[in-house]
């Protein structure tokens, strides 16, 4: 009892970072809840992954079953549901990822669990579990308390916590697969790899990023002029790609690419966490946005609060002059 059950996340043979990020906070929570940390790994042929996780000083419960070769939301839900009954953890932690959001809310409904999504903070205060999450794209934080229950469920935001270093040797325990047969109502078909474009922005030295602030496609020439002067490649936020201003392979962020230029100039990008996660590797970040509250300023090195269209043309002109 009092245990924290962390769901390991992996895809195409690799453990995903969120697995370890959750281990940054799980031990303290387990201590406060009066238990230990168990990591659940569902997969097929995952011995090496199990060993790697055990290196973080935790007990890894492994279901090694060909039925779990690919992620399947319904299989994961069934597995968690039956393992919650068997192990009665006090807290279940899942990533707020494309996998996690595809079944955690359904699991909460099925098992009648108190559930908070996309948490960026989690602690036990005076015997009550409390979560912190964001609203309005990060402009407001909410503190949410869980009503007393046997098991609580959270999904944890990616990159909200820094993964710890491997510590003591833990243990690996193989457990029986909770799944007896394949499902006939949700079938995995295939993965389709992201399209490859003309420019690989993950290799760009200088990037100019555009966001919703561009307003219209016809404003692109202003941006292209600046990019031309400093030999930058263009990229953008989800909003810019959804609007059709840029092809998908130029999208930066969790559902796009992670970039690591020496200079990133963010124009009219608010800086939603999904985008910011993709520019962590940038050495210098310049942000121009007319909203002084824009979260992009929290990660910027140089900031201009103004209308990008008043800044960009003049910036291009001046840079042209200085660079000769």
């Amino acid at each position: 009892m009092g245990n924290v059950l962390v769901l390991a996340e992996h895809r195409q043979g690799d453990l995903r970072d969120i697995t370890f990020e959750m281990l940054a906070i799980a031990p303290a929570l387990a201590k406060d809840l009066g238990g230990e940390v168990n990591v659940l790994l569902l997969g097929s042929g995952v011995e090496a992954m199990a060993e790697k996780i055990a290196g973080y000083g935790v007990k890894v419960l492994v279901v090694d079953d060909p039925l779990f070769e690919h992620f399947n939301a319904d299989k994961y839900q069934k597995a968690l549901s039956s393992l919650i009954d068997a192990y009665k953890p006090s807290l279940v932690m899942i990533g707020q990822t494309a996998q996690g959001v595809d079944f955690a809310p359904a699991l909460a409904v099925e098992k009648n669990l108190p559930y908070v999504a996309d948490v960026i903070g989690l602690a036990v205060e005076g015997g009550t579990l409390k979560a912190t999450r964001q609203l309005y794209s990060g402009k407001v934080n909410a503190q949410i308390a869980f009503k007393p229950a046997d098991t609580y469920l959270v999904t944890v935001r990616e990159s909200a916590f820094e993964a710890p270093e491997p510590s003591a040797a833990g243990s690996v325990e193989k457990i029986e697969s909770p799944l007896k047969e394949d499902l006939d109502y949700r079938m995995f078909v295939e993965y389709i790899e992201a399209e490859v474009g003309d420019v690989d922005i993950t290799q760009s030295e200088i990037l100019v990023g555009i966001g919703r602030g561009l307003k219209e496609d016809k404003n692109m020439p202003v941006i292209e002029e600046l990019a031309g002067v400093i030999k930058a490649d263009l990229c953008g936020s989800r909003a810019a790609v959804d609007a059709g201003w840029l092809p998908h392979d130029r999208q930066v962020g969790t559902s796009g690419k992670s970039v690591k230029p020496k200079l990133y100039i963010a124009l009219g990008i608010s800086g939603a966490f999904q985008h910011v996660a993709g520019i962590k590797g940038a050495k210098t970040i310049v942000a121009v946005n007319k909203d002084p509250e824009a979260p992009i300023f929290a990660v910027a090195d140089y900031a201009i609060v103004d209308d990008m269209f008043k800044i960009v043309p003049k910036l291009a002109e001046k840079l042209k002059e200085l660079k000769g």
């Binding site: 895809r11 995903r16 992620f71 939301a73 990822t97 494309a98 959001v101 595809d102 079944f103 955690a104 809310p105 359904a106 409904v109 099925e110 009648n112 108190p114 559930y115 999504a117 999450r133 309005y136 794209s137 402009k139 407001v140 934080n141 909410a142 503190q143 308390a145 869980f146 009503k147 006939d184 109502y185 949700r186 079938m187 995995f188 078909v189 993965y191 389709i192 992201a194 399209e195 969790t254 796009g256 690419k257 608010s270 310049v286 942000a287 007319k290 909203d291 300023f297 910027a300 090195d301 140089y302 900031a303 201009i304 209308d307 800044i311 003049k314 910036l315 001046k318 840079l319 660079k323």
Partner: protein
């Protein structure tokens, strides 16, 4: 195909200052402009495209105030056939599991093949309601869908994973899909459609009409308590460049050149 599309009326806070009210658990929304949630707008377009291709009807379902009828009428102007608006102050609307229960109550008892929702609300950002709704309805689902193909008795959905990878899954119908932005190009409502929408049926119901006891979806039923909202302290180490726009641009240019950044 009989499709329900669930949409939400949300404030645009992208360039607005957000203030927490004195009660500490709500924000002052008096100066916000509201419209359809971005992802829901794509869900409406997808529903209408499915109807154009496969026939059938599309019903708009929304929980929200009277003012949100502007948004609902706009969805009908684009081709949705009718609408249900649920309004009831007793719903614990901060808890997506309670919201899902209300939506399910509005759908249950009616035939449907597909329920579409946006995958994320721009205000709460929980990405939970659609998937919880599928469980309430007892049907398969897929979240964050970037492409929908209707097959015989099944739907093939392309889910958007991290890094632009797509996961293709097949679900038996009926099913719930939560739609990701960028799946299509939402149309503008045609003038003729806007006129026609005024005559389409828009039913307004409360929990009693749905036969759903308030005690199952109110703050008492919710297993979580919203204790407080607060404005996070933004720790910025950025050097803010001040002055008139022209000065700012010049200063930035010289910083970039002198720093060897360009």
């Amino acid at each position: 195909m009989k499709t329900f599309v669930c949409i939400k009326y949300v404030p645009d806070t992208s360039e607005a200052e957000v203030k927490v009210n004195a009660d500490g658990t709500s924000v002052d929304s008096s100066r916000f402009s509201f419209d359809i949630n971005d992802a829901d707008n794509y869900a409406v377009e997808e529903a209408v495209q499915i109807q154009e291709k496969h026939g059938g009807t599309v019903t708009v379902l929304s929980i929200g105030p009277k003012e949100s009828e502007v948004m609902i009428r706009m969805a009908m102007a684009k081709g949705c056939d009718n609408a249900i608006r649920v309004e009831d102050g007793r719903i614990a609307s901060f808890d997506p599991l309670m919201v899902a229960k209300v939506l399910a109550a509005a759908i249950k008892g009616q035939e449907f093949d597909l329920v579409l929702t946006g995958c994320m609300a721009a205000d709460d950002g929980q990405m939970a309601t659609g998937v919880a709704l599928a469980e309430e309805l007892g049907v398969p689902h897929a979240a964050m869908v970037k492409k929908v193909e209707i097959l015989d008795g099944k739907v093939r959905a392309h889910r958007e994973l991290e890094g632009g990878l797509l996961e293709v899954v097949e679900l038996t119908l009926p099913a719930v899909l939560t739609i990701q932005t960028g799946i299509n190009e939402p149309r503008y409502a045609p003038i003729r459609g806007i006129r026609a929408a005024q005559k389409k049926e828009l039913k307004v119901v409360n929990l009693d009409d749905l036969g759903l006891p308030a005690s199952e979806v109110d703050a008492g039923a919710s297993k979580i308590v919203l204790e407080k909202l607060y404005i996070p302290e933004v720790v910025s180490s950025a050097e803010f460049i001040e002055g008139e726009p022209e000065e700012k641009a010049e200063k930035l240019a010289s910083i970039l050149v002198k720093g060897g950044l360009v």
